[in-house]
């Protein structure tokens, strides 16, 4: 099997599972308990928090573990909206659904939301943000790197504009974290969401960074866990795993970026050489090192995925979360693709365990499958006829 859908989820790293195992067996104490086994669990969480804070350039009491990246996004956005003085919020048109649908829910509660457009490369323009900010703007949330087309936003510039207007700035860094340098002070963000399962950690654990002084209402109320900010008995094993995965990603960041970029660029070059009627979606260089998103004209993405799967290749069409939905990706539409072309997109997201040989296999199989689907596509008929 060739797994090239690391933007959907990643295999749990063996070393990460090893670190988790004590907390799945003997060290089962509740971190809120004051006896020995509870204290051990508490120490494990403290250490994990220190590790993550260190990587993010944050203080330990600014990092809060959650049950997922989506929860972190919901918390940040709803929590900041609740504490905001005004009822106007700003986000981008290409956010993950965890952000977009959260803003939708706020619209129903009487907030007004501005969705910043993106250019053909998928970039948000800082000028657009500048223009969109109003006296009653309570929050700006713009993702660091897009999950579908991998485009990396100029977070630094965007956050600075927000700061100048004293508007709290949140970024969904679920895709960015572990794949590029992420430092809350370098970026100047007030809140930042991350998720473990995208970086070789376990599913079901995320974290929200909240800069000291940022006003954010709690989201899950109850016990005094996470400095009284997020109730629930902590997922100790998950938290320990998250921190270790982050540590590994951080330690190997440069070499990983180099390796992924090489795989990506080789794949992009080969596809362009081999398969006609394709286009690369998203900025050619301002993109995540492992992400390559192509549209193949005249064919539909799900069929493509299923056929790749039959050849043992696991990839994605748009974001995994939107599968089952029939609308073409909102991200691809936002960068200006026609519906019919957006339908035929394929996201490959490499991981460090992938190889150049696998890329060769993928491109070979992909070329055949695209041809096979085109041969059965009524849309291609006309093109094929013209060619003759």
């Amino acid at each position: 099997m060739i797994y090239v859908d690391h933007a959907a989820t990643t295999p749990l790293k063996k070393e990460v599972l090893d670190k988790m195992m004590p907390y799945l067996t003997s060290e089962f104490g509740n971190p809120s308990s004051i006896y020995t086994s509870g204290r051990k669990a508490k120490i494990a969480i403290n250490e994990a928090r220190a590790t993550l804070a260190g990587i993010l350039g944050a203080k330990e009491n600014e990092v809060f573990f959650t049950g997922s990246g989506s929860e972190a996004d919901n918390w940040a956005i709803k929590g900041a909206a609740k504490m905001a003085k005004g009822k106007h919020l700003i986000t981008s048109a290409i956010e993950h659904h965890a952000v977009l649908h959260t803003f939708d829910s706020l619209r129903k509660e009487g907030y007004e939301v501005t969705y910043l457009p993106v250019d053909a490369d998928g970039l948000v323009s800082p000028q657009d943000l500048e223009k969109a900010i109003r006296p009653d703007t309570g929050l700006v949330s713009i993702m660091a790197a897009n999950n579908e087309i991998g485009v990396i936003q100029p977070i630094c510039e965007l956050a600075l504009i927000s700061k100048e207007h004293k508007v709290p700035f949140h970024t969904d860094a679920v895709q960015a974290f572990g794949n590029m340098p992420v430092n809350v002070d370098d970026w100047g963000v007030d809140m930042l969401s991350i998720s473990a399962h995208k970086i070789g950690g376990p599913k079901g654990v995320g974290a929200l960074y909240i800069r000291r002084g940022t006003r954010v209402a709690n989201f899950i109320h109850g016990g005094a866990q996470e400095f009284g900010r997020r109730a629930s008995t902590e997922n100790v094993a998950g938290i320990v795993g998250f921190a270790h995965a982050a540590k590994l990603a951080d330690e190997h960041l440069d070499e990983n970026i180099q390796k992924l970029t090489q795989l990506r660029d080789y794949y992009i070059k080969k596809v362009k050489e081999t398969i006609p009627y394709c286009r690369l979606n998203g900025h050619p260089t301002k993109r995540l090192p492992g992400n390559a998103n192509f549209s193949f004209e005249f064919i539909e993405g799900e069929s493509l995925l299923l056929m790749l799967d039959m050849k043992g290749i696991e990839a994605s069409s748009g974001s995994a979360c939107t599968s089952g939905s029939l609308d073409p990706s909102h991200v691809l539409l936002a960068i200006g693709l026609a519906h019919e072309i957006a339908h035929g997109s394929l996201r490959i997201s490499f991981g460090v365990e992938n190889t150049i040989e696998q890329v060769d296999i993928i491109v070979r199989e992909l070329a055949q499958i695209v041809q096979r689907l085109r041969d059965m596509s009524p849309l291609y008929e006309k093109v094929a006829r013209k060619q003759v």
């Binding site: 005249f298 064919i299 539909e300 993405g301 799900e302 069929s303 299923l306 056929m307 039959m310 599968s323 089952g324 939905s325 029939l326 609308d327 073409p328 026609a338 519906h339 019919e340 339908h343 041969d375 059965m376 596509s377 009524p378 849309l379 291609y380 008929e381």
Partner: protein
Amino acid sequence: MLYSEKVMDHFSNPRNVGELEDANAVGEVGNAKCGDIMKMYMKIEDDIIKDIRFKTFGCGAAVATSSMATELVKGKTIQEALKVTNKAVVEALEGLPSVKVHCSVLAEEAIKATIADYYKRQGIDPAPIVGHTADCDNCQCHHG
């Protein structure tokens, strides 16, 4: 969203795929914007569908329903073919995920549109026989 084995079988080995050189009826339904187009070719003789082919742009379910629909009407009379409902297609495929049921509707419509084309070519108004055929301005993209 999980496909039945039957769906996967018809998707991976679609029956009757391609064009039909000597077709005397061609119908096309769906639209590219929605992500589904089905085109059907039939060779009809003595009111019997002697041969049939399809081309489909669409998801796994679209391909599988096209394939199954062609199997269900191949060798049948026009009258029998017109009785093939989307439900029959879904049943023959041992079920479809609910978000994909519209594909079976498209397959039913493709059969009707192709037979309507046959009547038109014969100079017969298809409407009284086939009923309303697929009109893609009415097609809704947001079924989910």
